[in-house]
């Protein structure tokens, strides 16, 4: 009996040590990556780096067009995914009849979230660039990335709506409100923090995507700013990718500095998501 107990305790200890080991492997990898990037990139990081266009000379090159291109693409993409994603989420959660077709749509939206991003690139190339003739433009890029992250927004919207207490919906309906009035005045405001979180998660996923944009033919070298949604563009990850693939060591430092900027951007987005969520959760506390 005592031997069995002892053995059980040993197994328990082994399991804890193993878990800790795997945790530290992943954390250390992440940590060393960040340190490596910081060592390489921090010396290059300056105001001039952010405000300069790319150049053949590594010490004069900057990320202005890529940074603004990223921001521009994100803004256009948000304009696309907010109405479409929230609208689809509301329809599926509140209006869609429970039947086979709805179930198929739901399963497929969940599946879409797992499709490799390059497939979306091919889709975007065929539909937006060629069929709609948008060219290799900001708009084509934004729509392609929008398709890629739409499942995230739809699913976040549905989750958030599902969390709105039934009693609140009933209260509104019992007062003679229509379904849409109930959604507009009660369901959406209460589920806003969840929806916002989904949108920001979608943006932080999209801002790091490279493959679909390369597929649709975003340029890698741009020494001007995109003026209209139909202008050609580049984005941060593509600029970084471009610098990494150069043989000169100095460009690799530029790439590291670009990665730092991208990391800061993603980090800021996540902070905004948390702040917004806390603000609205407090405002509509139930």
């Amino acid at each position: 009996m005592e031997r069995i107990l002892k053995r059980k305790k040993i197994y328990e200890k082994i399991f804890i040590i193993l878990s800790l080991f795997f945790l530290s492997v992943s954390l250390l990898t992440l940590f060393s990556l960040i340190v490596d990037v910081l060592i390489d990139g921090l010396p290059r990081l300056s105001l001039k780096f952010i405000t300069s266009y790319p150049s053949r000379k590594p010490e004069g090159a900057g990320i202005l067009s890529a940074l603004l291109g990223s921001i521009y693409v994100m803004i256009v993409m948000i304009l696309f995914i907010v109405p479409v994603g929230i609208g689809a989420g509301i329809y599926l959660e509140e209006y869609a009849p429970r039947n086979f077709v709805t179930n198929m749509i739901e399963v497929n939206i969940a599946n879409l979230a797992g499709v490799p991003s390059i497939i979306y690139g091919l889709l975007g190339l065929e539909i937006f660039v060629r069929f709609f003739n948008l060219g290799r433009s900001v708009l084509a890029g934004a729509l392609t990335l929008g398709l890629l992250v739409l499942p995230i927004v739809i699913m976040a919207t549905r989750e958030a709506i599902r969390l709105v207490p039934n009693s609140i919906k009933e209260a509104s309906l019992a007062l003679g409100a229509t379904k849409w009035q109930t959604i507009k005045h009660e369901v959406l405001p209460i589920s806003l923090p969840g929806i916002l979180t989904g949108i920001i998660l979608a943006v932080s996923r999209a801002i790091g995507e490279t493959a679909p944009l390369i597929t649709i033919g975003a340029l890698t070298y741009i020494a001007f700013l995109p003026k209209t949604p139909l202008s050609p563009f580049t984005v941060l990850p593509i600029q970084i990718f471009n610098w990494v693939s150069r043989p000169q060591k100095a460009f690799h430092h530029n790439a590291a500095a670009g990665i730092i900027v991208l990391l800061i951007l993603t980090f800021l987005l996540n902070i905004i998501a948390i702040i917004l969520r806390n603000y609205y959760t407090k405002k509509y506390k139930l």
Binding site: S172, L173, L175, G176
Partner: protein, 250 residues
């Protein structure tokens, strides 16, 4: 005068029949209590009166419910319109996570009223009718969720009154409240019946005896007995009613 009348009412959730051939007349400007043990279908019945069950997926209804002579389940009847004439208060207080003012103004607003002074007037009158005005008049901008449970339930009554319904349905409105808060709501209902018809679901026979003019006893989906409250409590006709009132089950 019967303001509401059910005729051979059968209700199903999927294959499960929860109301069986219910025939009931609700008299105008009276309080009618619907009592019975849990699961007897009393909440289902009251939720048929303002078509709240429509939002349940597998809900099915047979028979008719007449509101002032018109079947509310006829094709072409808009449930949204029915609900402005037949208001409802729920078991658990469910104020919106908004200010007291916004809660009461919600109904008139969704009906299209925008005039500020008119809204102010309705909010004040409704809160007065619900015996809540004196407690909240200095704090109309306070979040309704900060009120006590009893205050929240009176706010829900004020909110229902703001659209000026002809019938007020209450689904066990005091079961989540303490005796003092419950008593206050009972007093309020006795005052309100002067201007509207009240139907209240209760699992508490003594509450039915205290406030109602008519009492319906429901058991396993059937209307066992329906009569004036005095009669049903002094000389119950049906043996099941006698057993229920003597506390043999419940």
């Amino acid at each position: 005068m019967a303001i509401l009348r059910t005729e051979n009412l059968d209700v199903f959730y999927g294959d499960n029949q929860v109301l069986k051939n219910v025939n009931l007349e609700i008299k105008e400007n009276r309080i009618t209590a619907i009592m019975g043990p849990s699961g007897c279908g009393k909440s289902t019945l009251i939720r048929c009166f303002n078509r709240m069950n429509d939002i349940i997926d597998d809900f099915r209804i047979k028979g008719k419910i007449f509101f002032k002579g018109k079947n509310i389940y006829d094709n072409g009847v808009d449930p949204v319109e029915i609900r402005t004439k037949i208001g409802m208060v729920f078991q658990k207080p469910n104020p919106f996570p908004k200010s007291i003012y916004e809660n009461v103004a919600y109904g008139p607003r969704v009906l299209g009223l925008k005039d500020k002074s008119r809204l102010d007037y309705i909010v004040e009158e409704s809160l007065k009718k619900a015996y809540l005005w004196d407690e909240v008049k200095d704090n109309l901008r306070k979040n309704a969720l900060e009120l006590s449970g009893g205050q929240q339930q009176r706010l829900c009554i004020a909110r229902a009154l703001a659209v000026n319904p002809e019938v007020l349905l209450l689904d066990e409105p005091t079961s989540a409240l303490d005796p003092v808060a419950s008593r206050k709501i009972e007093e309020l209902l006795e005052e309100l019946k002067k201007s509207l018809t009240i139907v209240i679901v209760t699992h508490n026979p003594s509450q039915a005896a205290r406030i109602s003019d008519y009492t319906a006893f429901l058991y396993l989906g059937e209307l066992i007995e329906y009569a004036e409250t005095d009669k049903i409590f002094t000389v119950p006709k049906h043996p099941k009613t006698q057993e229920y009132l003597s506390g043999k089950f419940g």
